[in-house]
């Protein structure tokens, strides 16, 4: 059996029948679990141990962040709708939903920039205390992941716009989608662990 009529080794028949790139993305996401897991460990160990103000209860705006979390959650819906549209060769629908996902992602990142700016104005900086340090680095790295996701989505949108993203190579969108949903579930965890779970200081004051 010659695997010669296909162009790229990644497109050979594989031992498992699964696509190499999709397997790579899942393995990468497994790796990224440990990446965020270590950041979350740090945050949870330092949670409530910050010695000087501002404390979480003084700066968090739960309604505002809830809207942000909702926006990112909805971007997962638009993402999966984009894939469904592309897989049934609905180019127009795919383009619309990809753009919607990128926009929702941008809104989330914009909201985070605004949130960070507000916090800094209220005196919470990267270096002012342990809370600022662990909060900004954890949520900042998540925001970086979202930003990279938005760039990938915009690239895919351009691809689709030029007619180069079709049901035949919808795997590109599916793999980008896996990354996107992963970023969403990380925020589900962060939203609960960082924002909603009660802090000692929060209860006190």
């Amino acid at each position: 059996m010659h695997a010669s009529t296909t162009a790229h080794p990644a497109e050979h028949d594989t031992s498992t029948g699964l696509d190499n790139r999709k397997l790579l993305m899942w393995a990468f996401l497994g790796s990224d679990c440990l990446f965020f897991g270590s950041l979350i460990s740090t945050y949870m160990i330092y949670r409530g141990r910050s010695l000087t103000p501002p404390f979480p209860g003084e700066v968090f705006d739960i309604p505002y962040t809830s809207v942000s979390a909702f926006v990112l959650l909805m971007s997962s819906l638009t993402m999966v709708l984009a894939l469904a549209a592309l897989q049934r060769d609905d180019q127009r629908g795919a383009k619309t939903w990809i753009m919607a996902t990128a926009l929702l992602g941008s809104v989330f990142v914009g909201g985070q920039v605004y949130e960070f700016t507000t916090f800094v104005h209220e005196g919470l900086t990267l270096s002012v205390n342990l809370f600022g340090t662990s909060f900004f680095v954890l949520t900042g790295f998540h925001g970086t992941h979202v930003t990279i996701g938005v760039i990938i989505l915009l690239s895919l949108f351009i691809m689709a716009w030029r007619g180069k993203l079709t049901s035949h190579n919808s795997l590109n969108l599916e793999i980008a989608g896996l990354y996107w949903h992963f970023v969403d579930i990380v925020w589900i965890v962060i939203f609960t662990l960082v924002y909603l779970l009660p802090y000692p200081e929060h209860i006190a004051g």
């Binding site: 695997a3 009529t5 296909t6 497109e11 028949d13 594989t14 498992t16 029948g17 699964l18 696509d19 999709k22 397997l23 899942w26 996401l29 497994g30 790796s31 679990c33 440990l34 965020f36 897991g37 270590s38 979350i40 460990s41 949870m44 160990i45 949670r47 409530g48 739960i62 309604p63 809830s66 979390a69 909702f70 959650l73 909805m74 997962s76 819906l77 993402m79 999966v80 709708l81 469904a84 549209a85 897989q87 919808s170 795997l171 599916e174 989608g177 896996l178 949903h181 992963f182 969403d184 579930i185 589900i188 965890v189 939203f191 609960t192 909603l196 779970l197 009660p198 802090y199 000692p200």
Partner: protein
Amino acid sequence: MRHTNTGHTQGAHATPKQYVQVAVILSIITALEVAVYYIPSMKAALVPILLVLSTVKFAMVVMFFMHLKSDHKLFSIFFTGPLVLTIVVILALMTLFGALFTS
């Protein structure tokens, strides 16, 4: 010689309508989380309730939006293996620092 099975055709994918249903449930859970946060009488049970609710959200996105429920088993292994390891490491580190039951 195209491969007949690239992994993304495994199982029957949900329809857009079902995706919207999942999203509605996710939205309701998010609303519940925030509501629980504001109800004073829930304070005692706040931690377990929040943890359960966010776990449900996490699992729903993974199963339905990332299609792990219907996709090839190998993808689940690739993801849940490190995920379980991550959870164990977080819990172990929190225990070692005495941070597990204080927050």
